[in-house]
Symmetry: C2
Subunit: 452 residues, 2 copies
């Protein structure tokens, strides 16, 4: 039951596809988990994927479709008629997955698929879900849940749960509401098993943390993580139970947010992985390189502005990479701490001003250490006093400047609702490269004129 995909398996499968050996193909995948089959499909090219997909039994089609990457899924669904998408795919899915997948379809196909769903109630649920923004609790939730009235007895409640359970794939908690559908609490299955048959449900329920339909998905993730929740009920603005979000969906949110921040810091736009095409990889990477180019050209203009300085003291050029790199490194260190703190909601309640003071202290310590070491090195190497001073004063100044920019920029971005993670990576290194050059040549101008 513990399948692990390997290269030989894929090669054997590709051979069978080429030979159109359907019997062998069906045998190879028949026992596998839909997530494994989806992984296999992801390794095949478009034609192979199409072929294998056509052989799969229709009862697992929906489960596999859910697990695929968006572009692979789009490729497979493109050629299926709307009626078939409705009957073999959408109708076998939970409402949250169904809404996600319908929202990926082209506009005109969305309505066709929706009108082909046989169960009007399911279609209605999906239409309702499509109205929520995808990055809110409403956009994440599913409407399939088990809920009972607080006035039932344990015996009646078990009857009711039996009825509802046959409709729901899996459930971990029973939510309890009053007659107006207002969420009152949660019933742990353990309590239900241990309680007396005639006990009223309202006496054995527990308080439950809920989220609102318009709460941000990152906030939902933070709440579920903080309170170790496996499933969280979603209520509307007056507290009526609308759906539930399970932890597996939130794990994906956490993972995606982290990856997005990681890719932004590394100067990559868009969600890519190493299996994507050369074209997609190129397109995701060129924007930051162009910004880097523009920054480099600006930097060249700054240095060009001090060219008489440089002609007189060509040894100044030796330390250009050091000054540039130090500013970039410190700025990224500072900004990444802020970005991560914002993402985790762990910045605490210190004001921006206090954070900045702290960063400046850290920068002063680090800058002094680095500047002192550079000073010793330059003295040992017999550099001129002016150069020694220029490099060390510039290092402290650049480190200080970078720490201030690195701390305040993401905080400022966050306040004006720009993703603070944009203020990491190439953006901040480029800014600091340029400022580093301004500082370096300005300091050198002063130092050389004093100590000539």
């Amino acid at each position: 039951m513990n399948f692990e995909l390997n290269r030989e398996f894929i090669e054997k499968l590709q051979e069978a596809i080429q030979q159109q050996n359907n019997e062998q193909l069906q045998q190879m995948v028949s026992e596998l988990h839909p997530a494994d089959i989806a992984e296999i499909l992801g390794e095949l090219d478009d034609d192979e994927r199409q072929y294998l997909f056509g052989l799969l039994p229709s009862e697992i089609t929906a489960d596999i479709i859910v697990e695929l990457e968006e572009d692979e899924r789009g490729e497979l669904l493109k050629d299926l008629p709307s009626q078939e998408i409705a009957h073999t795919v959408i109708e076998h899915m939970d409402s949250d997955d169904a809404a996600d997948i319908i929202s990926e379809l082209p506009e005109e196909k969305q309505d066709e698929v929706l009108s082909n769903i046989s169960d009007i109630e399911q279609a209605g649920d999906i239409v309702d879900l499509l109205n929520y923004a995808p990055d809110t609790a409403g956009g994440l939730m599913a409407t399939e849940l088990v809920s009972v009235n607080e006035d039932l007895t344990v015996r009646n409640c078990i009857e009711e749960i039996r009825k509802q359970a046959s409709e729901v794939d899996e459930f971990f908690y029973v939510f309890v509401t009053d007659a107006q559908d207002i969420l009152k609490g949660v019933l742990h299955l353990k309590k239900l098993l241990l309680a007396d048959d005639n006990e009223l449900i309202k006496n054995i329920i527990e308080d439950v943390r809920s989220v609102k339909t318009d709460d941000d998905s990152e906030e939902v993730a933070n709440i579920m993580r903080k309170y170790d929740l496996v499933s969280v009920p979603v209520v509307d603005s007056i507290g009526r139970l609308k759906g539930r979000i399970t932890i597996d969906d939130v794990v994906d949110v956490i993972k995606d947010e982290a990856e997005e921040d990681y890719q932004l810091m590394s100067g990559i736009t868009g969600d890519i992985d190493s299996n994507d095409s050369v074209f997609k990889l190129t397109r995701a990477r060129i924007p930051w390189l162009l910004i880097g180019l523009a920054g480099g050209i600006l930097g060249s203009l700054v240095i060009g502005g001090f060219d008489s300085q440089l002609i007189q003291h060509p040894e100044m050029a030796f330390f250009i990479p050091l000054i540039a790199a130090m500013g970039g490194n410190v700025a990224i260190q500072s900004s990444s701490i802020i970005v991560q703190g914002l993402a985790n909601n762990s910045l605490g309640f210190d004001s921006a001003g206090r954070k900045l003071v702290k960063e400046i202290l850290v920068a002063l310590v680090n800058g002094s250490v680095v500047a002192l070491l550079a000073l010793i090195y330059n003295i040992v190497m017999g550099q001129s006093f002016a150069l020694c001073l220029t490099v060390s004063i510039s290092l402290i100044s650049v480190v200080l400047f970078a720490a201030i920019v690195g701390t305040s920029l993401p905080l400022a971005f966050n306040r004006i609702k720009i993703d603070p993670a944009v203020a990491t990576g190439p953006f901040i290194t480029t800014t600091n490269d340029i400022m580093g050059m301004v500082i370096y040549f300005f300091v050198s101008y002063q130092c050389y004129s004093w100590f000539q």
Copy 2:
């Protein structure tokens, strides 16, 4: 029931602590979730925390201790006698949390606490868990679970679950074993509710994905995420059920791994956040700055080696920041894709060679675009032909070199069991700064000698 911590609350609390107004303090926190109280404690200084902690009812002490940050927890437990730690903290915890917290204690205190635990079976479980490496499935799992024999009937099974459930906080699946304790499958509570009383359990169980005690925790996280598992059974090498890992623990693993990679890329060593002390923040950041300094000095030696070149053509210095930045940016783009692919197990089955070829193609495209734009700019600016050529040829070469290093270094690190994320951030930018200078001055030497 939806508490949200804010600054006023903290200030009011701090005031009450100063006035030693115990009644108000107890009233302020009495209704809160342990995770909220832990968050509050995290915002207080050591003395305030100690004071408030002393007022909390002992039945929630254990839950709060679990939620605290490691250093805050250490501070609080430092002054508690071993006997009290055993009775009021450890004995009220699940075995996995108990083992984690005992492992944080000083060596000599560990044995004292263990020998003070009243329940010998619990102490034995904890000792067993302490033997597993913390980053394995064994180190993550808890021994508290509900398991039944496959030969029971549904009626007997419910009886058995009732007995076991009173010992376990919360459970989502019932694991099913044979007489030798070998894991046979999982029983969904839904199936149990819907089944006939006399049905045999072995007829209604489902296959279950399990992990081995020595599986890596990152692997466990990937499996739970892939198969959308809320709880996964852990077995030993011959398949006997040893414990279970729940998704909330794995969410923390996923989050921690992502943060570690993020911090490594940003040049920060160790797990810090913006609330840490200036000393801790400084210590976590200085190592990479020193490496950056060493790299900068090496770079200065490289440029120094070409100083006659520089004296003749001081305009060469203008483009030093551009060349250095471009190499660093491309290298981080390349390495971060590999690091993320390795972490997600999503690199697929392309060989390292094929990945490299793809990266080289991407680099050629991006490098050509950047080089062409730089060429146009330099021609427009009326730079000498030799400089135009030097800058553009260097850009392509640096981009190519950076892509190759950025792709192969993390793959190589991974093969020799070094965390591939080390090959991101300042390490790779520094390497590429130096190589960028070597390439730039070498190319310029050639270009200037041809076109003089």
